[in-house]
Amino acid sequence: MTHKSEINSSRRQFLNGSAIAAGLAIAPGVMLHQVAQAKPADQAVTSDKRWGMLIDTNKCSKGCDACVRGCQTENGWGENETKSGPNQVAQWIRKVELRDTSTGFTKSLPLMCQHCEHPPCVDVCPTGASFKRADGIVLVDKHICIGCRYCMMACPYKARSFIHEDLQDQLPVAPRGKGTVESCTLCVHRVDKDGENAIPACAEACNAEGHEAFVFGDLKNPNSRISQELAKHGGTQIRADLGLNVGIRYRGI
């Protein structure tokens, strides 16, 4: 019996020791992983994350288009298209005003690419130029886009724009070109640089106005602010009936 307990205690010591050693070995990795949320530039994106945004329409004010202007400044669209008509100019993000016809209740919200999990634009694209990254961001590869505009036919949110004229003075973060299709990139250049700490330009502009209607983050991380807010207060998908499981969620509609 004594003999047995001796063995047990030595085993306990061994297990404790191993656990501490293992903990010490893993800890820096875990800690560092938490510190280094940003992805090194030479590493491919993975499906460990799914980037999304929650937009609280209760904080969004009618007539304010700070998010639209913020996006324009960041990505350089809209103002250098001088020849295109009103509906030919790019619209990466727009403000939509809603009015319930039966109650008169009104609402204002920003609308952009909803970064669907099952994007119709990606399904229909003949060359694969329209694609979804592993982390859920839907983009257009401008090098293989042939300008057929089928993605624009297929997008339920009218989120895509075709470039109708030659462009000058483009910004390095958002290369654009006549004859190709483009849309909101979820400020992918910022996301790749800052990871979970990134703030897309629309959200940044909204914060600067003091509205703070946008929350950007990782939908797969249960501890992220976006996940916690969604878990607590819920969120609505626009045209949820289509089953696209969008990455942009709204509150208050």
Partner: protein
């Protein structure tokens, strides 16, 4: 009977032939010029925008592609369904199918934002895209019909005509199903997202393709002074009548189904009642000019026997078909997307209001250029190869005349 039908190139070297060639060539050049103008400046010179992303060029292109597969039907009736009277009509049918498809594809490609990247479309494939399938269906169709024509026109290969014809028939059904599915597969828009689009496009192709075929047949026979007997022409025009009726039936089924579902009431109201140009094009263009009037003309006991009336009826079917394409393609985009059911919406980007679209001249010119490409190809081909029978007089075409002769021969034996 078969031995009686001889095929002969167009031998006429007069000003008429070269005049036609020059006229079509000029229209093709103007169309290409329009395409260059659009590509050089960018699409801002067109009426198309970020709401009406497919415009007049697509109306022409889709019409030509749909008509192309239908033009092959005449050959299919001969070799697949064994109607021997149609066999002399088959080479022209295959030729017209290839020519119309080439014209339609040219318009489609020249309207791309990047026609220079055609090679990309041929080398990068997203196999989930119906467009990518169509790239293969369209190019494959050309190859299949060329082989079919070879089997038909090379005496040594004649024994393979039937299997080749059968394969081409299946392929053309797949092709038009693919074209219809471009719209059928669009989940987002109220006017599309319907499985009936695919079979409706198939039946539309029967009608538009046959109308185009009859017009080309009548014109080419008249201009080359060949005899076109009443019997074969009446068969074709009666068949066209059936197809025109079938298109009306599919349109009726589509709208009745939509009318039954409350969620589609607003889009139906838009097309059928208060959609302005789209409502007019639907009722006057598609239903009246493209459907009821040609039906009455084709089946009228006396007028229906006049060649001028038959020709005009075919022209009206084509015009009505263009109107139908316009209503489907442009009308379907003009109706606003429903993002917030039950809500009134407004925005800086025309949410909640009917999208406006006025086609500009280059768009028309490009589309008409595509039609000219098709006709130019036919005009050149009938001179170079033996596509046209020397005569389609009743005595040559009608099997009864032949069977009478056989009957007499049997009796004699």
């Amino acid at each position: 009977m078969k031995a009686n039908v001889h095929f002969r190139e167009v031998l006429n070297n007069g000003t008429g032939y070269y005049g036609l060639l020059a006229l079509l060539g000029a229209i093709v050049l103007i169309g290409l010029g329009a395409a260059y103008f659009m590509e050089h400046n960018g699409h801002f010179v067109t009426g198309m925008n970020n709401e009406i992303v497919w415009g007049m060029p697509h109306v022409f292109a889709v019409f030509l592609i749909v008509a192309a597969s239908g033009a092959l039907n005449v050959a299919s009736i001969g070799s697949v369904f064994g109607k021997s009277q149609y066999k002399p009509l088959a080479p022209l049918s295959g030729l017209l199918a290839i020519a119309l498809l080439a014209g339609g594809l040219a318009v489609l490609v020249l309207d791309l934002g990047h026609p220079d990247r055609l090679i990309v479309a041929m080398t990068y494939y997203n196999f989930k895209s119906i467009f990518a399938w169509n790239v293969m269906l369209y190019t494959g169709f050309m190859a299949v019909v060329v082989v079919y024509l070879w089997m038909m026109m090379e005496r040594k290969m004649n024994k393979y005509t039937k299997p080749a014809g059968f394969f081409a028939f299946i392929w053309r059904l797949a092709l038009t199903t693919g074209t219809g599915s471009i719209f059928g597969f669009i989940v987002a828009r109220e006017a599309y997202d319907a499985a009936i689009m695919a079979p409706m496009f198939v039946i539309m192709s029967f009608s538009f393709g046959l109308a185009a075929y009859i017009l080309v047949l009548m014109a080419s026979f008249k201009w080359t002074e060949r005899e076109l007997g009443d019997k074969i022409l009446y068969r074709l025009k009666n068949l066209l009548g059936i197809f025109v009726g079938a298109v009306l039936y599919f349109v009726l089924a589509y709208h009745l189904t939509n009318l039954y579902a409350a969620e589609h009431h607003s889009v139906e109201r838009f097309i059928l009642l208060d959609g302005g140009i789209y409502t007019k094009l639907f009722w006057i263009g598609q239903i009246l000019i493209g459907g009821l009037i040609p039906l009455a003309m084709l089946y009228h006991p006396t007028l229906g026997k006049s060649r001028a009336v038959i020709g005009w009826a075919c022209a009206l079917v084509i015009l009505g078909g263009m109107a139908q394409m316009y209503v489907i393609i442009i009308g379907g985009q003009a109706f606003p997307l429903v993002l917030f059911p039950g809500m009134e919406v407004s925005s800086s980007f025309a949410d909640g209001i009917v999208a406006s679209y006025t086609p500009k001249l280059p768009e028309y010119l490009l589309g008409i250029g595509g039609v000219a490409i098709a006709l130019l190809l036919v005009t050149i081909a009938v001179k170079v190869l033996r596509f046209l029978p020397e005569s389609l007089a009743d005595a040559i075409v009608d099997p009864h005349t032949a069977s009478d002769a056989k009957g007499t021969a049997k009796k004699a034996a």
